[in-house]
Amino acid sequence: MAGDEVTGSRGPGAGPLLLGVRHHGPGSARAVRAALEAARPRAVLIEGPPEADALIPLALDKGMRPPVALLAHAVDEPGRSAFWPLAAFSPEWVALRWALEHDVPARFIDLPAVHTLAWQRDDENAPAVEGEAETGDERPSGEGVGADVRVDPLAVLAGTAGHDDPERWWEDVVEHRGRGAADPFAPFLALEEAMGALREAYGSGGHERDLVREAHMRLKIRAAHREFGDGVAVVCGAWHVPALRRKATVAADRALLKGLPKVKADLTWVPWTHRRLSRAGGYGAGIDSPGWYAHLFDAPDRPVERWLTKVAGLMREEDRIVSPAHVIEAVRLAETLAAMRGRPLPGLSETTDAVRAVLGDGSDVPLALVHDRLVVGDVLGEVPETAPAVPLQRDLARLQRRLRLKPEALERELELDLRGETDAARSGLLHRLRLLGVDWGEPAASRGGTGTFRETWRLRWEPELSVRVAEAGIWGTTVLAAANARAEADAVGAQTLAEVTGLAEHCLLAGLSDALPVVMRVLADRAALDADVGHLAQALPALVRSLRYGDVRGTDTGALAGVAAGLAERVFVGLPPACAALDADAAEAMRRHVDAVHTAVGLLGDTPAAGHDDLRPRWHTVLRVLAERDTAPGVIRGRVVRLLLDDGAIEQDRAARLMGLALSPGTPPPDAAAWIEGFVGGGGGGMLLVHDERLLGLVDAWLTGVPAEAFTDVLPLLRRTFSAYEPGVRRTLGELVRRGPGQGGGAAGALAAGTPGFGPGLDRERADAVVPVLRLLLGLDEAATADGAVKDQVAGAKPSSAARPATGAATPMPLSFGSTGAAADGAARDGRTGAAA
């Protein structure tokens, strides 16, 4: 390194070596390293908050791995923060490492964060925490890449050079320049000149606060100059270079810095990710392709060949056949394309085009994978444990103080009454922490009342929870912001619909109204693409439950109601086709879904969402369709008729007609039995039969018509159905059946002539004719005993067994037995009509 020669080429006038860079530009980073190697400065000054000077040595720590970010936050309000993200290919990071490796002092010279954070506070247009973080972030990284709408220096330069894309222009002119250029300072000089012309034309370009920052930088440079002499290198955004070169009096600079607002600020290193460096990541460090930049920076030579080989490797991992010949052709295409587009080297767009045309068969699908895994990349930074505490910990401590919830290692139970403000806040905090993976509290079963306003928690603070809190620091600076960010990320990454509904419920419990829109959107998308009605039907009840929770807690649930109604619509459309060709188990599962949806729709109907005010009538339409669809399993059809009947959506007559159809002789008995199970199964079914003798008559008539060989098949089903009834109901049913159609013990006059399934009156002559035979057969006179047994039997499961007394074979048979007894039942059944007569 010839020092003299270096001084000679250092540019206009001696003084500090000003290295203007593009933040996160790998070419800039390489150029900075070359320039520092050549110049060997005695001190390195870097654009960044000077409070972080104490943190600089950590950059050399073994536990430190970029991408990381300097995080400044206001001590009293951890939500007010700003980030300076640094990747391995950031020029600032390179300068920092170079200084540390060469034992040269490094300093940050930007305006202190105490002022910039105070500026944020004064900006009234930064209400949300995230918004503030963004504004804070734009400052260190935004202006170099031209993200500003007011004046975009690079766009102006690129436009002047005839390029429409400033990013690409910068890459071509600066980043992609061949390495090993003769003069390591030449690019910086050229850039300084261009920026000088721009600054002359545009002044501060609308960034009035830049002037203050630049004044501060000048003062710091001057101080460093006094201390180290000429051997000072400054790494800053290219935009600032002309201003730092400008001669300004100390007094003028001081005047600019006078009376700046201040807040108490604290700084630390936090881990960062490539995904967040990219624009898609939210915080927007301003680069689309951190993975590609990292590759450009790391690749020792032949970046395009290496990149395409990497892409090929990725595709092979994903089971696409990619041969070396493919890679060769892709490289050729990329290079020719670059030549055709007049670029010095193939850039990301050329390699992407080549990957699409050669490796990807023209499809965008593998390309999306390449973009996600390579162009952006999954790199996650690390910071050493010795880094100062993250603001999230502070925020948590503050909340713990305010809510009087001490972290204790001893397990204890906590009863919360959500109607109280403090308790509601405590519950919110615990739920949020759970979302963040900090399981301080476990929800426990509530001992007292079952109301939705009561919660019981089991609290226990384990030491490793502190680590979890530190890990969660990546999500945000306050518990609320972090939980919101985490919930959003979880929603996007969720695999199943049920996961997302669960998350939505959790968001409501934790009061995360910011994350809710994202979760709802993901939920709506998932629901739209999920073809399984079962999944949708499962998700709906949870969602409706959430709606009710939201009501208790006063959350705005408008969006939720909309999504729930949309989900219901999809279920309506999908349900009838989904009910075809089901086996018994699937039919039973589907019946449960129908029940759940019915309940949910009932609840939803009370909270009308825009455009979904007629959910209930539409649901009834769907049910009616199902009721008449022969391909649907009996259990569903029966249940559907029952639901309609309960809602008063069809008349009794119609229900009876449907039942008659389902139980007509042509229907296979197991199917009909399933219909009966669906129709009168569950609570209240028995009462229905008790009160509508016509229905009971239908059941009875069908049962007596079941052929003997089929009876054993339907018996278990029927038994399951009827054994679920209350004993009282069973008894009444039994009595009704014994009594026969619509009359009490032999009161022929009261006989309802119209009762379907029964003759108009009692044929005493025929009945009397049977009696002697009966007595003979039974060999006893206690007909009452037989009657009692019959009654029990009928109530237990099978009205048909009421036929027993007719033949006299009615030694009371316990109903718990299976088919052996049932065979006898079948044989006995034929006498049934006689008994009725």
């Binding site: 056949i321 041969s323 010949a325 493919h326 052709e329 050729r332 295409l333 020719t336 394309l337 055709m340 587009r341 767009s349 085009d353 080549a354 699409r356 045309a357 050669v358 990807g360 068969d361 023209g362 499809s363 965008d364 959107r521 709506a524 998308d525 739209a528 693409l529 073809a531 949309g566 619509e569 999809r570 309506f572 459309v573 999908g574 086709p577 825009a610 455009g611």
Partner: protein
Amino acid sequence: MSAPVEVSVEPTPAEPSRHHCAPAHPSAAGSSEGAPGPETREALRPHAEQAFAAELTALAAQDDRPRPARWKLSPWAVATYLLGGTLPDGTVITPKYVGPRRIVEVAVTTLATDRALLLLGVPGTAKTWVSEHLAAAVSGDSTLLVQGTAGTPEEAIRYGWNYARLLAHGPSRDALVPSPVMRAMAQGMTARVEELTRIPADVQDTLITILSEKTLPIPELGEEVQAVGGFNLIATANDRDRGVNDLSSALRRRFNTVVLPLPESPEAEVDIVSRRVEQIGRSLDLPAVPDGIDEIRRVVTVFRELRGGVTADGRTKLKSPSGTLSTAEAISVVTGGLALAAHFGDGVLRAGDIAAGILGAVVRDPAADRVVWQEYLETVIRERDGWKDFYRACREVSA
């Protein structure tokens, strides 16, 4: 995404003429759709190199960039020819393909790297149109064409025999009938293969040697035809029909693939549909129906939303049906609706006229697609302002 500027018609392989590029007809200069020359006056549709002879000549005259061997224009000029622009002397080059620049650049570059080019896309995305213009601009001749069908024989790609001569004089070069591909190889021109995936797999594979070894052996004569510089091949294929005769991976590897996308913006698509509908209506002598642009917009919106799986406002995701729902199908739905309105309706294109057509286009698979359609109807159309009539009409036909 793209919008074909012209809706292309399959060019009929006509008598190849070698002088298309020459400015034989100065009268045609300056008008982009120039009058066809005398020898093709009867042709329904002139070849690209004839119709745009003036533009090609102007481009060639002012093209000072390096040209690959036997190229009539430099790659830059070819890209300009397809994408349009204004030359230094003020000649206006009309855009032949409206769509992403990237696609044309990749296509031209592929031809320049001596890799073969495969244009994929659903029907109606101007694959043939682009391939014809590429060949016209690169080689000045777009007629070296093999039309792929299920019955395309090997002779269509390699060579055939003039049997009268073969019998009379025995095998010789005179008795050999070269295929378009063979001629292109010998002369360093661009050959075109239409509907590559419809060609039987064993016939497709004859292309492998041609594309990798750049030679075509004639074992009967103990000779071979070696491709000279400038030879290349453009194939088109319908990517929805990929299953017909899928390319073997060996053949696939010889191609760079470019997928021609469907029109990017709804406006562009509405424009294409209405223009084309008007043309078809005229040629079918349908009674004139007043402007049905609102219904056309609706058809295009429905097609785009279902095709893309997301609503136009980007807020709701949708399932996509199994049909392609290409622009071409939208055109036929609107044409059918027009016929319905003209013959059986009140002469105004209404929602009811297009509902049945849309249903037919969307529901290809009676089970799965019907659910998709019903969901779309109930969750999207029902709530859309001003679409009540359409919703009702669709309900009627889907019930």
